[in-house]
């Protein structure tokens, strides 16, 4: 989230991510789930969105409808959980804040992964990776893997190696590995095992005789650019050690949409932060609208510079929305309201962001009449978009009245939900004194 500095000689990039993030969050508060097959289900308990290793070993695939598994679950000892995005959002922000303490710069890439800038000799970097892994486990109970390389693509690839080779103990620095071993892995892993190479692209590459990571690394970047895209050309260059994938402040994928920025001038008042949150949420809403998606969870966060000599403050809050929505009014109120009580007046915040998760296609849920907001009926979203296109993002603000951040009645089926252990006073973890 902080601005990446120009890398000096020994700077490397780490990609840290949480193993089976949603499942690990459930396990962090429920020791009974350790070592048993666990799946987490999508909104409305529809289908599998996350699997523990044990569930993967049972052959359960992501996207499998729950009704197909329900009957055999007790027999195979499979435990299911509804998605508990409040919990995942809170644990995510803890992990991200902690990771930032170890890094020269940080780019939060998704709810469960972050790029970090690290410096040191190859062995020192490996030790830093182990330190980070221990710290996250101690603070949150979540297992992470750390991949280290000279570029984001290589860091991501190293992370994959760390995950798949238990003897590495969760940390892989490509530079401390035997080059022949790296080469062997690259010539075994299909090209679709790379960051940003999907199956359709994989098929096309395969037709050109480029089927493994090693093949793509050896390809001519200019040819790849002509035949495919500048994006894939960057992948080729990155595989060869030339860092060229820029920092992204805006991203959307199947799992979430992130809108974050660093400020050139720190934001130092709660009033300013309210404006920032409102604008970011409206930007994120516009993006959702364009993608034809709706969000059910909003996470708002802000932070001071890691180099700040003065007070450190990393407010973060996750709220569940009244129903899946792309309504800028609702999202803006949620973002402002969520962060409101945690922003410390006078502290110089250098970055802030809004993350929307629990995404689904608009219209996936039958909308109950009372949850269709007046604004939605009037298509205010579209109107706001037009106004901001014309006059700029700061030209239109939404009022702050009305939406309480108390969790609204959620109309969806969440029959197998664990408590919101860290965000609801009435749902704290119970410890037995017996």
């Amino acid at each position: 989230m902080s601005e990446p500095a120009a890398p000096p000689g020994a700077q490397r990039i780490a990609l840290v991510d949480v193993n089976s993030f949603y499942v690990s969050c459930e396990r962090a508060f429920d020791p009974k789930l350790a070592g048993v097959p666990v799946v987490v289900l999508s909104n409305n308990d529809g289908c599998v969105v996350a699997r523990s290793d044990e569930a993967k070993a049972l052959g359960i695939k992501t996207g499998t409808p729950w009704f197909k598994l329900a009957e055999s679950a007790p027999r195979v000892g499979l435990i299911q959980r509804s998605s508990n995005y409040e919990l995942y959002g809170d644990l995510s922000s803890r992990v991200m804040e902690l990771l930032g303490r170890y890094a020269l710069w940080q780019e939060v890439y998704s709810i469960d992964e972050s790029f970090l800038g690290l410096a040191g000799t190859p062995r020192e970097l490996e030790a830093q990776g182990a330190t980070i892994r221990t710290a996250v486990a101690r603070h949150t109970g979540l297992p992470v893997c750390v991949g280290i390389g000279t570029t984001k693509t290589l860091a991501k690839f190293a992370n994959r190696i760390a995950k798949q080779n238990r003897h590495l103990q969760g940390v892989c620095n490509l530079e401390t590995m035997d080059p022949a071993a790296v080469e062997a892995i690259m010539s075994r892993v299909p090209v679709t095992g790379l960051w940003g190479v999907g199956s359709r692209l994989g098929t096309k590459l395969d037709a050109m005789g480029i089927s493994t990571v090693a093949d793509l690394r050896a390809a001519d970047p200019a040819l790849i650019r002509r035949k495919f895209s500048v994006t894939l050309q960057r992948t080729v260059l990155e595989l060869n050690g030339t860092a060229c994938i820029p920092h992204e402040d805006e991203r959307a994928d199947r799992k979430q949409l992130i809108f974050s920025r660093s400020f050139s001038t720190p934001v130092t008042s709660a009033a300013e932060m309210r404006q920032v949150m409102s604008i970011y949420a409206q930007q994120a809403a516009a993006r959702l609208e364009r993608e034809g998606q709706q969000a059910s969870i909003l996470t708002a966060y802000a932070g001071t510079s890691h180099f700040s000599e003065r007070a450190a403050s990393f407010p973060s809050a996750t709220v569940r929305l009244p129903s899946p929505t792309s309504d800028p009014v609702i999202l803006s109120r949620a973002a402002v309201g969520a962060l409101e009580s945690q922003v410390v007046e006078g502290v110089p915040y250098t970055k802030a962001g809004v993350m929307l998760s629990g995404l689904e296609s608009a219209g996936a849920q039958p909308l109950f009449e009372e949850f269709v907001s007046v604004q939605e009926r009037r298509n205010l979203g579209e109107l706001l978009g037009k106004v901001t296109d014309k006059y700029g993002a700061a030209s239109i603000g939404l009022g702050l009245a009305g939406m309480s951040t108390a969790t609204p009645e959620w109309t969806m089926s969440r029959r197998y939900s664990s408590p919101r252990y860290t965000t609801e006073w009435s749902e704290l973890p119970v410890v037995k004194a017996v």
């Binding site: 508060f29 020791p31 009974k32 809170d90 922000s93 803890r94 992990v95 804040e97 902690l98 710290a135 101690r138 603070h139 949150t140 109970g141 130092t268 709660a270 003065r310 007070a311 990393f314 407010p315 973060s316 809050a317 009580s341 945690q342 410390v344 007046e345 006078g346 502290v347 252990y421 860290t422 006073w425 704290l428 973890p429 119970v430 410890v431 037995k432 004194a433 017996v434």
Partner: protein, 139 residues
């Protein structure tokens, strides 16, 4: 992630003492953070990334003032030491006990009569979830 949210009223702040102090000629380094209210987050939470609040069920720790229904502040990043009140995993349940490490034995002790010690045979079998730093006792 605040466990407690300090109630910051939205009214414009009256001129504060720190402004007055500055006007009187000695700058205050705390000026930017002057906030007349005590913020429990600052005093009760050493590190927000590792701090959790849990609720007690049962009376086995009543002798140390931890009663049924009380909330505990737990720091998962602290190293459990001899004599610490900890949340340990016992038979898959989060359980609050006092940890005793006297030489050879590892004991999870209750603080009320009638609750037997839980003996942990091997250090590898001890699973401490976190260390209790505060009890928010309901009086």
């Amino acid at each position: 992630m605040a466990v407690f949210s300090a109630d910051r009223s939205r009214r414009p702040a009256p001129p504060s003492e720190s402004d007055a102090a500055t006007a009187a000629g000695f700058p205050s380094p705390a000026r930017d953070y002057f906030d007349g209210r005590i913020d429990l987050n600052r005093h009760l939470i050493r590190d927000p990334t590792s701090t959790y609040v849990v609720r007690v069920e049962g009376d086995s720790m009543a002798g140390t003032g931890i009663c049924n229904g009380d909330e505990l502040i737990v720091d998962r990043s602290l190293t459990p030491r001899d004599g610490a009140v900890v949340v340990a995993v016992v038979d898959g349940e989060l359980t609050v006990r006092r940890l005793l490490l006297d030489g050879q034995r590892i004991v999870l002790r209750a603080e009320s009569p009638g609750y037997p010690d839980i003996l942990v045979a091997e250090p590898s079998e001890l699973s401490v979830w976190g260390v209790v730093t505060r009890c928010l006792h309901h009086v």
